[in-house]
Symmetry: C2
Subunit: 258 residues, 2 copies
């Protein structure tokens, strides 16, 4: 397809597939639903789908592909999950062994791909409503257990944002409208209630002291299934690399609740 | 438990289990989420869960039980799906062979139970908003195909209501807030667009002529998986009998979007 005739989502995927975009997908193709990716062998696919069903705030499933298929026909016809994410993480026996820019060489006919709604999707709606999304934001492990299914278990991973009370109210309203992208906050206030690990965020330095007047607000995070793969020592799980998501053709405003 | 200490949901299930309530569950334990039930053998469970994921308006899954388990620990601890619905329908090779008031004698360790949100749940919210729910309402087969998964395929079954334009707007607003109970309408206006069968509703006589000033409004219906079992000639599927649902401990207002 001629680049001039592409939608912003198709253009972003094309830039990723041709290696012109290799970084995080935050800010790309605004208005389109972004997804986290989980790929597992067929033998674990039912247990994982039940795990997602039992933990829908962390793992809202947008599409399940047939075994061996890599084209998400429903959410991005023509795309290919083996090429169209800028970076992948490979977990073997629960250990992240490598990162890849493509996974064609790892493909097996028994692999089942899951696309899981990402919170990046509602960042634009938050910004439009006056809630900043780029600063005062951390991804934290917690001690709150997820509901297990088959071998999958582990603690919830959350996104914490520091917001003013007015922003916290608006952010609750706005994010509630996106149940397929983690939806409403799962907690507000004291991080100790969740056992959130402020000393070792998944990315970056420890969380500094909370400035007066701000409230920590917590959302379930799409990194949760990766933590479950680690805890459960799943033999093989391929995922997006954090912040390097898959851009679908779905419009965020079409999936959201009015 | 002493009946006087039961919640309305527990009291309703107790009345059903002890045979004091044997009819439809519409109007029982108002405010609690009601569910449709699908029970299948483990070998088909993954395909069915993917079918639900691909058709979330018709089949919003609220709980998946472990194989052989009959207690829905997450949505109704202490309940038992073998006894706590007033009537069950048994499908063998796609044919509805019998109805039962209990299914203990049919139980197998390989059976997996799925609880699927029912539209009965938001009837109370519609009534509160001035939208009548008991009259001018039909369950219809359509010619709109569902998205298949494994052996599961077939056409969508819908609930059609005749509403005034003002009621149609309010009903869209209210039902949108209940995505786990079929959510927003899937269509408004001409039934031919869906290929809705007005001559043979699933229950009752043919649909009469539309009175002037009313709009047909259509929601995806929880009978859809039963139609898929028929079309796909699934070897064994146990379901609730239509309108005879399972009452959970979940509060409808807690599951809804504000």
């Amino acid at each position: 397809m001629e680049p001039s005739k592409m939608t912003p989502a198709q253009a972003a995927r094309f830039a990723i597939r041709t290696g012109r975009h290799t970084g995080p997908t935050h800010g790309l193709a605004l208005g389109y639903v972004q997804c986290n990716l989980v790929i597992l062998r067929r033998a674990l696919a039912f247990d994982f789908l039940v795990y997602c069903q039992r933990n829908p705030r962390a793992c809202p499933v947008l599409e399940v592909l047939e075994p061996g298929e890599s084209e998400p026909r429903l959410s991005a016809p023509g795309a290919d999950l083996r090429f169209d994410l800028p970076k992948y993480a490979i977990y073997r026996n629960g250990i992240r062994t490598q990162e890849e820019h493509g996974i064609e060489h790892l493909w097996e006919p028994e692999l089942v791909s899951f696309l899981i709604g990402s919170g990046i999707t509602f960042d634009q709606a938050l910004e439009r409503a006056g809630v900043p999304t780029h600063r005062d934001r951390w991804v934290l492990r917690t001690r709150r257990p997820t509901v297990p299914a088959g071998p999958f278990h582990g603690n919830l991973v959350v996104t914490m944002r520091w917001l003013t009370p007015a922003q916290a109210i608006v952010a609750t309203q706005v994010s509630s409208r996106f149940p397929m992208n983690h939806g409403a906050p799962i907690h507000m206030g004291d991080p100790a209630e969740l056992g959130a690990d402020l000393q070792q965020p998944l990315f970056g330095p420890p969380v500094p002291a909370l400035p007066p007047g701000l409230i920590p607000v917590f959302w379930a995070c799409g990194v949760t299934p990766q933590a479950a793969a680690e805890t459960a020592r799943i033999d093989l799980m391929i995922t997006h690399s954090p912040a390097h998501g898959f851009i679908t053709d779905l419009l965020a405003d079409q999936l959201c609740i009015p």
